[in-house]
Subunit: 340 residues, 2 copies
């Protein structure tokens, strides 16, 4: 029986929403190891589940909490009692099969590399953002782990991204696009131009450059980019959608006519809000580390945490680590000779 | 009396929509020099204005057209009969005061540098995107002219951006943000980290790093970034808003209830579409070239072209070139000693 370790102390509203989300997932039968301050967590558990926590939930004590921010991420290596450190140690020692955190992304990234290492053939793991488009999910990676990349990293992002979308979302032969500022192969920075050439001969189903707006037309199932541009993409999409919903909400209360229209349209609009909700897929996989690690949105609520835990469980059920390892090993065989 | 030169051959639906937009602006009293194939343009003018074109409109012949794409942009320097070359020559020779094109951005950028040059103290001109937020306009630059930048370029983008927003939009003391992937000064690429430090001591009203989603909360009036990330920002925002409106349109026809709701809400939604419409501000200024140059969206329709011409006229009325030149000269005085 597999176990999902969950960082109870990570996220804007930790630990309360994390405990709530963990209990929700545990009630569905998922084995959850909630990592954090034992006394604090037990108080929350009693409050949230006064009739008793499900037997699938247990608490693993970790006395320290890594705050948000770069400074804390830098210290993370030495703070061995932190919930992130302890949670990843559980995975390393085989006591858990996956780790979920909505905490400090930099710290989770650094400690995942330190404790779990990388899959053979992967130079840099990437944070994958799954975007819920009306036509189905699109994976953009990296969305923030590596501000700068080399062309070879982008090819590796494509390979792990393809394997993830194939295995977790059942997409038969995922296509790959390169985020760029124009369609021509000569567009963009030197890194991107070189990556275009490398992807074209990599053997992946490469459809070429993809501009920001085309991502929403689902021209590719996997979109590779450096962590700076990918993060700009992710947050711009969130911001644009938020501001538009805010405007619609205001508009739908501006006049009596609009108010009635808004009430009638509400169920349909709510459907859209749900469809475009980042919480649907719960967490971003850290693809390329030697283990299943998922990073949740800092703004995660209980529903998002539960969804992240379910995603982690699915990844374990699908043997994510083995699948990615095999995909990279296979690519190295098929690729032009390297010194790897 | 000032004259606005307009590239009649640029844009997805040129020349028809350009002629239409130019006639609209000319009817309002703006002096327009429409640059392109004389015979073709005269046919369009007769069709669009059978009762006769306004006396404020004249045609300047240019026999060549630079297509979209990088390859064409590279050739632009040698194609002296192109509408872009001829239009910018009019500005250079003082026969026109500004140039508007919805054509090949790379070609307009390259030929502006070649024919008009840069404002003293500016290393790299930037393309400025004006985003119509509910709270007012926000200028993001660069949105695509320079895929890579140095920290000093970003400081110059801030200075021209401030001058533009102050002069053209009447913002008293425009604030500046640096597009980044986190709030801490240590976030991002080495270029961005260095730019953060340079902006902090530049004397501009620098509010620090701004993430993609915060731009929509109007935390800064001017947001500086490299042309790659800025272009990703621009196109992601467009794509996200488009996909959401498409979804709402579908939802508003899915059931009878939704259909009635949609009809009642339509005027309010239309207001939002208009508010968030890129055509509102018509064109992106090329800030830092020694002249007033505006680049329209490739998808521009007649309304967007007319709006771009009005924006160019306003820039001329506000003596944009002189204002930017003075702003840069003043900054060089106030800045720490350099070898400039």
């Amino acid at each position: 029986m597999s176990v999902i370790a969950v960082d109870a102390m990570g996220g804007d509203e930790a630990p309360s929403v994390v405990v709530e989300g963990a209990i929700e997932a545990a009630r569905e039968g998922i084995q959850v190891a909630l990592v954090g301050d034992q006394a604090v967590l037990e108080q929350h558990i009693v409050r949230i589940a006064p009739q008793g926590a499900p037997p699938t939930l247990r608490v693993v004590h970790a006395g320290d909490v890594i705050e948000m921010g770069d400074h804390a991420a830098l210290e993370a290596r030495t703070r061995r009692d932190s919930s992130i450190y302890v949670g990843l140690q559980l995975v390393k020692q085989g006591e858990a099969d996956a780790f979920v955190s909505a905490g400090n992304t930099g710290a989770v990234f650094a400690l995942s590399l330190l404790l779990l290492g990388r899959i053979k053939g992967i130079e840099r793991p990437a944070l994958g953002g799954v975007f819920p488009l009306p036509t189905g999910p699109v994976l953009v990676l990296d969305v923030g782990a590596n501000a700068e990349v080399r062309p070879s990293h982008l090819v590796q992002f494509a390979r792990v991204g393809i394997a993830y979308m194939h295995e977790l979302f059942g997409i038969a032969d995922p296509s790959v696009g390169l985020l760029n500022i124009g369609e021509e192969p000569t567009k963009g920075t030197p890194v991107v131009i070189e990556a275009h050439a490398a992807l074209a001969k990599s053997g992946v189903r490469f459809i070429g450059n993809v501009e920001g707006r085309q991502v929403f037309n689902h021209v590719a199932d996997v979109v590779v980019t450096d962590g700076f541009s990918g993060n700009v993409f992710l947050k711009t999409a969130e911001g644009a959608i938020d501001v538009l919903f805010r405007e619609i909400r205001d508009a739908a209360t501006s006049t009596l006519r609009s108010r009635i229209g808004g009430l009638l349209l509400r169920p349909a609009l709510r459907g859209i809000v749900q469809k475009t909700d980042y919480r649907q897929y719960g967490a971003a996989p850290l693809l390329g580390v030697n283990g299943a690690v998922f990073i949740g949105h800092g703004r995660s609520d209980a529903r998002a945490i539960a969804s992240a835990i379910r995603t982690a469980q699915r990844a374990v059920d699908h043997r994510l680590r083995e699948v990615l390892t095999a995909a990279i090993a296979e690519a190295s065989d098929g690729a032009p000779p390297t010194d790897a």
